[in-house]
């Protein structure tokens, strides 16, 4: 036990942990802010789908020898547009469109990865992420991307709210609903690419879905749902990183498990409150 504390105190004094917590909080803010719109629009799995796409783009970047984020941001945004277009023009349902684009990208990424030897270990880092290895470049990019996401969501907050509740009425109000959907896709793509460093492509959608679903159990208004989901998201990232250090577990997976435990706890609390 004492050894664990010593490990934690020693880790807390080092700069890598400060960087990890800082980047983690940025990702937590962006993902939970967008989560409410995506979960309530029944687009929860767009995060998962775009994360699969980013797996393909990372494989491509590693083959080309380019920092993955430079390749991932534009290609993941393009893929999110493709999902929307398939849904609009080709009459493919939203979930099917996500499935088509994401599985195609994973297949392509796997072919690229298997045809070139030497970077498969690197690629596996991106599958589950490693927030304890964030570089200074990661910090700057995370800061820029999350500031873009936060400011855009705040600026268009009421429009996104109207779009999420009732798209027809939003159109009657004169809102450009198509453009807003594309904007939401761009922000989701940025958040997914950003979150891969923290929990990896396999688990990024949990950062988008869990905090909102937890907040939905207790909140009675849209604003409170966002506030609660921000608190849950930030708390789980910090707790996850600290527990990962103490227990020597993978940080990304630990963060997701903590989200799961908070969900069970809040859900049981809600059920008990109704019963008594």
């Amino acid at each position: 036990m004492r050894e664990m504390w010593e490990t934690l105190i020693e880790a807390l004094s080092s700069s890598f942990i400060h960087k990890a917590i800082f980047v983690g909080i940025l990702v937590a803010i962006s993902s939970s802010l967008l989560g409410i719109f995506l979960v309530l629009k029944k687009y929860s799995f767009i995060g998962d789908g775009l994360a699969h796409v980013s797996f393909g783009t990372i494989a491509l970047a590693l083959v080309l020898g380019i920092t993955p984020i430079y390749v991932s941001v534009p290609l993941v945004i393009l893929a999110s547009f493709l999902i929307l277009k398939l849904n609009e023009k080709a009459d493919v349902h939203g979930d099917a469109a996500i499935g088509l684009v994401s599985s195609f990208s994973v297949a392509l990424g796997y072919i690229i990865a298997s045809s070139t030897s030497g970077f498969t270990v690197n690629l596996s880092n991106y599958l589950f992420g490693d927030i304890l290895l964030v570089s200074n470049l990661d910090i700057y990019l995370s800061l820029i991307l999350s500031v873009i996401v936060v400011l855009t969501v705040l600026y268009f907050y009421n429009d996104f709210f109207a779009l999420t509740y009732d798209e027809d009425f939003a159109q009657v109000l004169g809102l450009k609903t198509k453009r807003l959907n594309y904007l939401l896709s761009i922000l989701t793509s940025l958040t997914v690419v950003l979150g891969i460093r923290v929990v990896g492509t396999m688990l990024i959608s949990s950062l988008i879905i869990f905090p909102t679903v937890i907040a939905l159990q207790i909140a009675r208004s849209f604003k409170k749902t966002i506030i609660y989901s921000l608190i849950v998201s930030i708390l789980s990232i910090i707790l996850g990183i600290l527990l990962a250090i103490i227990l020597n577990t993978p940080p990304g997976a630990t963060i997701v498990v903590i989200n799961g435990i908070i969900f069970i706890f809040v859900y049981l609390l809600k059920v008990l409150r109704y019963k008594w």
Binding site: L40, L154, F156, Y165, F169, R220, S221
Partner: protein, 227 residues
Amino acid sequence: MNSILQVENLNIAYGHDYVVKDVSFTVNQRDYVNIIGPNGAGKTTLVKAILGLINEYQGSINIHANSVGYLPQKTNNNDKMFPASVKEIVSLGLLAKRKYPKLLTASDNKQIEEVLKKLGIYHLRYRRIGELSGGEQQRVLLARAIVNNPQILILDEPTSALDPHFKHEFYQFLNRLNQEDGVTILHITHDTGNKESGYNKILYLNRTILYYGLKENYQEIKEHHHA
């Protein structure tokens, strides 16, 4: 009398099937038009085109009003878990033509509270929309439609979910909006025999217009046909 809505030679087709054909009419300010017709007559399609929800049509639609209120048949969002309070839903009605970032002011809040009081749902203001009954939800949507003081109010069969008591209040409310506040009303309804509704015109649509004019003349034509 000034016209507030002009529809000219409107044709709307799904594939080769015309849902609305050669429809032309003019609505004047302060008119209260009941739009009637059988199921599948194109009433909702016509209204959706006027509201800008359908953009693929031939002909022209001109609205000379700054704001339009819309009350659908029922809420489009059936998610009981949707975490929006009644007050938040009504605030959406104020968003049109607001400048970004569209923040609500203290006077907006006052306006919202006044509408909620007027419709007898002030006590529900912090409740989740999904927890309310169908009738209560309709009142919330009516509050959302009129909170911006629209010059035209368009209603698509909103009374089906209402309890009989509120139905009476609802018609009284529409009559006051029309007669005292001068709001022009277009109301799709099946409730044609309702004596409480203060409408002055009837638009009988069955893909094309079969009658458009004063309600008195419609009665005469109807009686003439029966005779």
